[in-house]
């Protein structure tokens, strides 16, 4: 049929949205959000639960109308090009319960049948590593297998853009890595990915660009390494002192070599540090001079989590 009509390549980036606003009664879920995703990029919306990530990704997919703002995908809009867009997007939504009593093969075939063009079902089955489960009912699958099946249903139309809403939430590390491989494989073929996550590691591993979202707004945007660099430090040192010990004055800590920031919260002190090999001995000397004993000391390379903490003073996940 008219398969060629569907590959019209409008100009512009894969995703461009401006000034998105979405309110639910009194709650503003998305509050003036701008995002732009280049073709072939992997873009991550990173933020805590309730930040507005899901609402945003559902607006992008034309499942929710925004109260304000504009959305353009592949140079097309939902108002004018819904039919074409639906053919070209692959979707995995949060908490979709696929039919229990269908087999894996039947489920993928069902979704394949909705699209004019796509990938042969057997090929998708192999891509997500579910060949051996082909005849198994969905109800018999593990959490990780179900999630791979959900992604298979998104990949079966050979999409230009793949939308993934928290694709690995609640999965064990092995299943998570399997999904990452599938996503990277899709990217290697030139596909664009937009995903939401609250796992830093996932965003750093998969995404070229990340938007950190809080209270419905983008509070920082860039590549993971740029964002981490914006902290002005590569390392983070956390320590706590014995109970009753006098807190170390902030200026004294800031005066240590290589220390760029100090943050104290509930008896714990966090230092952002450029040169750990200079800062650590100096910190030890300071502690000995003041007769303060440590009860806790950890150090790690700065992550997106630290970026979020430095921007909001809160952790991404409630632990």
């Amino acid at each position: 049929m008219a398969a060629n009509d569907l590959t019209t390549n409008g100009s512009g980036p894969a995703v461009r949205c401006r000034g998105l606003v979405k309110r639910y009664n009194d709650v503003v879920a998305v509050n003036g959000l701008d995002v732009e995703v280049g073709r072939g990029d992997c873009f991550g919306l990173l933020g805590p639960n309730g930040a507005g990530k899901t609402t945003t990704i559902e607006i992008l997919q034309g499942l929710l109308p925004p109260d304000e703002g504009s959305v353009e995908l592949l140079g097309l809009t939902w108002q004018r090009n819904e039919r074409e867009l639906r053919q070209r997007l692959g979707t995995q939504l949060q908490e979709t319960k696929l039919p229990d009593k269908l087999s894996v093969l039947e489920t993928i075939t069902l979704f394949r049948s909705f699209y004019d063009k796509g990938v042969p079902v057997a090929e998708v089955l192999a891509k997500v590593g579910l060949q051996e489960k082909s005849a198994a009912w969905v109800s018999k699958l593990s959490g990780g297998q179900r999630q791979r099946l959900a992604v298979a249903c998104a990949l079966v139309c050979d999409p230009d853009i793949l939308f993934l809403d928290e694709p690995t939430t609640g999965l064990d590390p092995q299943s998570r890595h399997q999904l990452w491989d599938i996503i990277q494989d899709f990217r290697a073929r030139g596909g664009t990915v937009v995903l939401t996550t609250h796992y830093m590691e996932e965003a750093e591993r998969l995404c070229d660009r990340v938007a950190i979202v809080d209270h419905g707004k983008v509070i920082a945007q860039g590549s993971p390494s740029q964002l981490i660099a914006s902290l002005g430090a590569e390392h983070v040192v956390d320590f706590a002192l014995e109970e009753g010990a006098a807190a170390l004055p902030e200026p004294a800590l800031l005066a240590l070599p290589g220390v760029t920031g100090v943050h104290t919260d509930a008896g714990k002190t966090r230092l952002t540090v450029t040169r750990a090999h200079e800062a650590m001995p100096a910190l030890m000397t300071l502690l000995r001079d003041r007769n303060a004993a440590l009860t806790e000391l950890t150090t790690h390379r700065a992550t997106l989590e630290d970026v979020f903490i430095s921007l909001t003073g809160r952790h991404l996940r409630d632990e």
Binding site: G62, L63, T91, L93, L110, R112, S113, P120
Partner: protein
Amino acid sequence: MSETRYSAIRELTLWRVREFLREPEAVFWVFAFPVLLSFALGIAFKSRGPEAVRVAVVPGPDAVVVAAMIESDSSVVAVLVDSITANNQLRTGRVAMVIIPTDPIVLRFDSTREESHLARLVVANALQRVSGRRDAIDLREQRVTEVGSRYIDFLIPGLLGMNIMGTGMWGIGFAVVKARSGKLLKRFLASPMSKSQYLLAHILARLVFLALEVGSVLLFAVLVFDVPVRGSLVGLSLIVVLGAMAFSGLGLLVASRSRTVEGVSGLMNLVMVPMWIFSGVFFSSANFPDAIQPFIRALPLTALNDALRAVMIDGEPLARTAGLLAVVTAWGVGSFVLALRLFRWR
């Protein structure tokens, strides 16, 4: 590589059919239960003819003779008991009359009770006849127990109608609400699948099972109870299909907004229970007062049951049921259109 042709309608319909067949409980309730129910009711209400009238004869010189005279009529059973027991049994209704075999013979009974009244006629007649009374005029009896006028003949079309309503509404209503609460509808919405494909597939899957579920009850009724199918089978099939469509539409309407299975169950009962009661499934809807007859006649199940009975039992031509079928169709079209407007996909 040759590209397989995929059809969304076919795959969606297959999904519905598979989901149903892979649920053994659903298969039981749709296919086995109606057959069991019609069997149980058919047995319970099997036509037996009137029961024999029981009377008591108390002791006396001629007690045995009198009892024998009375029992010359085969519809009376006379028991010999002492007078205290006899009076007790008369009071509690175990016997319809107490006979004291003196001269003259005394018949003790409660004239306000129907069976006592009957006993009085039958016993007096038997005694007189045996004692030599001659009939003044000749009477000829013609006994009738016609196929088509028994309870089971009334019941089977009603059960068919009830079944068509139940499976249509539950089958579609539950599936839709389950898909909505599991966010599957939303996932479908994100794909190019069209809404009409989804709804049409439900109805097609419904038709696949309709033939089986109606056929099984009908075949059972014909083979086991000798229930007649007097009108044309084509006409009957058409009525069944129309009924199924109408209740699919109603099921869709009831399920158009509910997000939980509990919520939709309540609504389903609200819609179906009045029809179980009023629409003449187990007993004729003519038993209800005239004032509410217009309401009863407007119900889709009443119209469906009446149409089924007209064609199946009375052998009416299909054209004679046009008015009833118009009611059924109006419900189907109306609820379908309304359901499409109200339908919530997420």
